[in-house]
Subunit: 380 residues, 2 copies
């Protein structure tokens, strides 16, 4: 699976059960976003806390999707996840969908024959999903509906581009839509985050180990990062800002012109919003500025891919032992100082990790070893 | 005069009286450090508050010594002040000294014939003053003593290098040495800052208008800037840090290696201190990092010098009116948006000014006009 677990809720437990069942799988391997997520913000609790929750909820191996893959548009996020799992020898990819009867691989292939590729979508005024769906409607005569359905198609496109290393296993989702308000026994991650922000109880939406991690760990939000973004935009040279990933079309002028008068991050986002850019794209751009995520550091990260193991069960450990001689990328289980030094494997991740360390007081890479949990440890 | 007024105290009032008397001067013109001072920290209150205090204490014209001149070693600071005053048509420079009987111009000339220039001092383990004094002792057979005596020599060297546009007017200082504890009727600026930091009364050390400005305005210290420095060092690329003014000999490694474990700015300074560098040099380097003061921005500022008028009395206004057609550099009395835009006259100053604006909530350049005060307004 490819996931963010931001935070892990009952829907994710169900998803991992589905993955295990549909794949007739010995182990469930999850490529999980690290400390930053695709909508352009820090994960609510750090990657180690979320790994603890994941292992308790049905995952056997959790590996990290690095910042260079997560703070990206949907197709790049999907590509990062597919390549990471394939490098680890995983052969199947399960994902939730509003319509699991769609043949995603076939649809991706059909789109490819019509030259519809992620790179063809250059209209920033609409979300990637909207543009993808318009292309689908043009090619097939009928649009898809639902965000996870389009996410599935992105996975299928990324898988096709990678030479189809993964068999796709879509499964139906229970309960609310991805961004629907909390209802019934499941809620979306964003609804859970909203409940947390509002100080409402969340124990009905998340399994106990996830609730325990949420209670025990510091919560990171844009409120923590806004002072850094503000400082950087007030002092950075325009030429420096032009090196930031996703900074295009003179956006550096827009950002620097509006920062001084802004009161907080939501206010700043409102000021820089235009028809030309979605909020998600602007949030990711602001996060890239704050983390000093440059085109060069993204390129460096992509040139030196690696597999950072965040945690495993006993079954997961056995799986890793079995594949470790054949994995396509370096398998990192204990982060050394050399890996973090300039030019090191994990060096491009460090600016963002240092900020989380400053907030949590907890090392995010150096000296950390994978979380170990009992096999089949779903306590839900 | 060249001054910082950080903060303005009775010794400064006396200095301006001496300057007026010795120079038989119609007006006292002060080149005052803006929002940052030479020891590598923000001025305790902003430049507008200190201009108010200066006009009330005997200054007729206050012009700004920009960051590119103040966050520098002593000889560059002196050069910035001498050139600014000369550009404004000033013909005399008064300064306090432990020994006003020394012929500073002659001493500077003698040092010059022995090839002793500021650039010959490259030993960072000792202060500039110490090295200058060693050279003086070598050339003249007897060392000078006292920091302001060496400051006077720096002025004389800068004046000589500029073609001696200024007649030097040294005068004796009353009361305590520059860094001595408060005693008698005068105290050094650092003693006043220490008293303020300790919550002790300062009204006996500073004239009432300066005390009023200190009471009415936010105080800036390194405690405000340390989180920004920390953020920047945690996220900056080493190549970016190498562009910072004063970053040499691999100091960027030393800074980035020690920041994560540091608790506050004094702790950080202690960690990066070595025999090789003085505290003053390290503070200035840290300030340059925080303000993103690069070699390129210093060069841009020096290539486009200007005279920013911060305030004047009626007599000062008459003086400015008289010289405005002959001043060597652009005379800025009202800062326009164009001057602050990229490439504009004041653009290199803006990162540092934006940070002061964030702290004080008060524009430091845009739309500001000079403070006007009654002529001869010393209310002390």
């Amino acid at each position: 699976m490819i996931a963010e677990f931001n935070p892990l809720h009952h829907g994710h437990v169900y998803a991992m059960q589905q993955a295990r069942a549909l794949g007739h799988a010995d182990v469930v391997v999850v490529a999980m976003a690290g400390n930053y997520v695709q909508r352009g913000e820090p994960a609510i609790v750090d990657k180690w806390a979320r790994t603890q929750a994941a292992l308790a909820a049905g995952a056997d191996v959790v590996v990290e999707l690095p910042i260079s893959a997560t703070v990206q548009s949907a197709p790049q996020f999907a590509t990062g996840g597919v390549q990471l799992l394939a490098a680890l020898g995983v052969t199947q990819l399960a994902f939730g969908s509003e319509d699991p009867t769609v043949d995603y691989a076939a649809l991706a292939a059909k789109l490819a024959t019509h030259q519809v590729a992620p790179t063809t979508f250059t209209d920033y005024t609409q979300t990637y999903a909207t543009q993808l769906n318009q292309a689908v409607a043009q090619v097939t005569g009928a649009p898809l509906s639902g965000p996870n359905l389009l996410l599935g198609l992105s996975y299928a496109q990324a898988n096709l581009a990678a030479g189809s290393p993964l068999t796709l296993l879509p499964f139906g989702r229970v309960g609310a839509g991805h961004d629907a308000p909390a209802a019934g026994v499941t809620a979306s991650a964003s609804a859970v985050r909203q409940a947390i922000a509002a100080g409402e109880p969340i124990t009905q939406w998340v399994p106990a180990p996830s609730a325990a991690q949420l209670a025990a760990n510091r919560h990171q939000t844009w409120a923590d990062f806004y002072p850094w973004l503000r400082y950087r935009l007030l002092t950075a040279d325009l030429a420096e800002l032009r090196t930031i990933a996703g900074m295009s079309e003179g956006l550096e002028y827009r950002l620097t012109q509006h920062i001084a008068a802004s009161h907080d991050f939501p206010d700043f986002l409102r000021r820089i919003k235009s028809k030309r850019y979605t909020y998600a794209r602007l949030r990711r751009l602001c996060l890239a500025v704050t983390l000093n995520l440059t085109n060069a550091s993204v390129a460096a990260a992509q040139a030196q891919p690696f597999i950072h193991v965040l945690g495993f069960t006993a079954a997961g450990q056995a799986y890793l032992h079995g594949v470790k001689k054949t994995v396509a990328w370096p398998l990192v289980t204990r982060v050394s100082a050399a890996m973090l030094a300039p030019g090191g494997l994990l060096a491009p991740q460090q600016p963002g990790e240092h900020l989380i360390e400053t907030l949590t007081g907890r090392s995010q890479n150096y000296g950390r070893v994978p979380v170990r949990a009992e096999s089949g440890g779903s306590s839900c």
